[in-house]
Homo-oligomer: 428 residues x 2
């Protein structure tokens, strides 16, 4: 029986989950793979607090480098988070020829290329299944199962906090701020919640997905990133009446040899499986040119689900299967499409004055900007009140929407800021 010795950097929630999973199922994994995973060392600045798992105190250290440099340690697991220090440790480990497992999407999105190059150079694999979709083995699916496919599109619900908030807003008829506050109290959202609710976390994960499908790297500046902050319950209600549910979606598509990428709250038809992904669950819908449509679903975060993915990677590293750094570097890199030239359908919600020609004025602006209306709903109001009107449009260019929205906002008959969201129909 081969034994692999694991060095863990960062003994937080996920680190403790990894230890728990390995203590629980180490024997089973050894039966399955012929390799027994053993916790060799754990580094953290805090080596006093109880993490609810049983570890020999002798393996705890505050010195991460002593773990990285220990010749007895076979695999390094980076669970520190953040970019700067994590990057230094991961680079050092790879340069030492040690395979590294990480769940750190920010690190991959921001320093990925450098790490993949170090990995390819030293031959030590870099494994990061846990960085996208928590416990869902979706990166493996892309890399191995779908290797024979050109990836036509990927649509992901990738942030559990946002999906939890959106689910509760819909179920309970509440506005964003109320649910966020409660989610923070319950531990479903962090304080501050910005990385999650502003779409940054989703964007980091989208970058990792795009790397595997279309070659590294995609810059975070190259695509639209919008979160769900301040979303009104009215949008959820109107979208629902029209047969849609609002999800924070990463949409990644290959169109004519370019990558179209966006992260924003989007209307998903209720009949689509992604609309049935509720609470803190994640899912990725992937379309390949050979396999057709596939979907992968599971818990997107949390101590044990993330640990499941980390452990899968540890066992792959232990088996010396090599990771996918070479893949990412060899892959022909597709350029990212200019956000202005992406063609999408939209949901527009306006507050209009109650006077005869308002619809005509708005319709005129849309038409002038080559945006045609697919459907419209106008709610009955009391005379003199503002009238909420919702338009669903056919596909039009992002840059035309930008001009149209400015012109619409400037109309005298329009009150407040118009709301615009993408509609995703998943065609082709």
């Amino acid at each position: 029986m081969k034994e692999v010795k694991i060095g863990i950097l960062g003994f937080g929630t996920v680190g403790a989950g990894v230890v728990e999973g390995i203590l629980k199922n180490g024997e089973l994994m050894a039966q399955r793979t012929g390799i027994f995973p053993k916790i060799g060392k754990i580094a953290d600045l805090d080596i006093k607090s109880d993490r609810g798992v049983k570890v020999d105190k002798a393996i705890l250290t505050t010195d991460a480098l002593s773990v990285i440099n220990d010749p007895e340690i076979d695999v390094i697991v980076e669970l520190i988070g953040g970019v700067r220090i994590a990057r230094d440790f991961v680079l050092r480990a790879l340069e030492n020829g040690k395979p590294v497992v990480t769940a750190n999407k920010a690190l991959l999105a921001e320093a990925g290329r450098e790490l993949f190059e170090a990995s390819a150079k030293s031959g030590a694999g870099l494994y990061f299944e846990a960085s996208v979709g928590g416990g869902i083995p979706v990166l493996r699916a892309l890399r191995d199962g779908l290797v024979g496919n050109r990836i036509k599109s990927m649509y992901g619900i990738l942030n559990g906090t946002c999906n939890y908030i959106l689910t509760r807003m819909e179920r309970e008829g509440l506005d964003f701020d109320a649910v966020l506050a409660d989610a923070q109290k319950l531990g479903y959202a962090e304080t501050p919640p910005d990385l999650d609710i502003d779409g940054i976390d989703t964007a980091h994960k989208a970058v990792v997905l795009a790397s595997l499908a279309y070659g590294a790297p995609v810059s975070m500046d190259a695509f639209t990133i919008e979160g769900i902050r301040g979303l009104s319950h009215r949008e959820i209600e109107y979208a629902g009446e029209l047969g849609y549910r609002i999800k924070l979606l990463a949409a990644i598509r290959e169109v004519n040899g370019e990558i179209e990428m966006r992260v924003e709250p989007s209307l998903v038809p209720k009949k689509h499986l992604l609309a049935s992904v509720h609470d803190a669950y994640n899912a990725v819908f992937i379309e390949g040119d050979v396999v057709g449509s596939t979907l992968y679903y599971g818990r997107g975060a949390g101590r044990l689900p993330t640990a499941s993915a980390v452990i899968g990677d540890i066992m792959e590293a232990a088996a010396g299967k090599g990771g996918c750094s070479a893949w990412l570097l060899n892959h022909k890199v597709l350029p990212v499409c200019d956000a202005k030239n992406i063609s999408i359908r939209c949901y527009l919600r306006l507050s209009l004055k109650d006077q005869p020609d308002v619809i005509a004025q708005v319709a005129h602006v849309l038409g002038k900007n080559k945006i045609s209306i697919a459907s419209m709903i106008q709610k009955e109001q009391n005379a003199g009140e503002q009238v909420p009107v919702v338009f669903l449009t056919h596909k039009a260019l992002e840059k035309n929407y930008a001009v149209a929205m400015e012109e619409i906002e400037a109309l005298d008959v329009v009150d407040g800021k118009p709301v615009r969201m993408a509609i995703e129909d998943f065609e082709g």
Copy 2:
């Protein structure tokens, strides 16, 4: 650039799909993996018919053994189907030290152990992702991504033909026979359709899933297999009113160290993702003790989806990653639970005579057999007509249902054969 030469046995629908996929995306795969897949030889009894893909006639042969024995061929792809001949060819190839890729679930279910042993002995891998769930990379998920999990349960919609029929029965309000005839006309069901509609194909796939989770082999005789033949549209309608959809489900669970396994039409709550798997799509819901709930969805059959899985396996074989024969043989084998001792909830539909004490008589039989009623619906009928009554039960032992159903059928007040189906609530 390493090149791998592929020998294909069986140039039918899937064989042609594999060739199409490789011709289309071979360059892309080479970029990604550093290995270029090349079709070396193709064996089929018919080497004249046009398959709609371009191949050099010189690589076609009617002699499968000449492919297996060709030292130039690196990987054998078995797409002949059936058990006897396929087994001989696969064994020969493995004994020759050649990795084999197959989509043949019947072969794996009926001769799996022998093949895994031959594979482990010679060190040539046996790969079979395409045998379950068509293009969905679900076996890889089980083997690699979820390696750190004890698998608590797996629930699969594994037969596209049955799911297509059930979907149309529900949508169009038709009975089984009408939809089957049309499905055969449209190519969604084979003639004869028995393997699909009687649940055999689903059972073969369930055996493969159980092997990966709990160790090979499970005998086809060791568990209940029931198909959807003759299912009445009334069942779909009543189940729908109660909040359920009927799916042909493979249910595999570990309970107290034993495997509980069943293949039968089952009521799935409409809110569960599996209830949203429509048409010819497949899905597998897997619960691990670390990762929690996960789901994998995609096309369960067809030329290209199956080819996608076969190609993924070819590239894994080409990279020399070794397959999972050792895994299957080393894995501690859990015993299969006696079908009589499985505890399930049931849907019972009876036709009762329109007289005062009928419900009491049925309820008495159920109670006597330790089956308690969770809910009941009785439809209003004209006086003197038979009254359809539906009971949903709490969990009870399969053996108690068997006795109760006989006793109920023997009651004077019951007309015709009572209908019984499992209810799956996916708890724990």
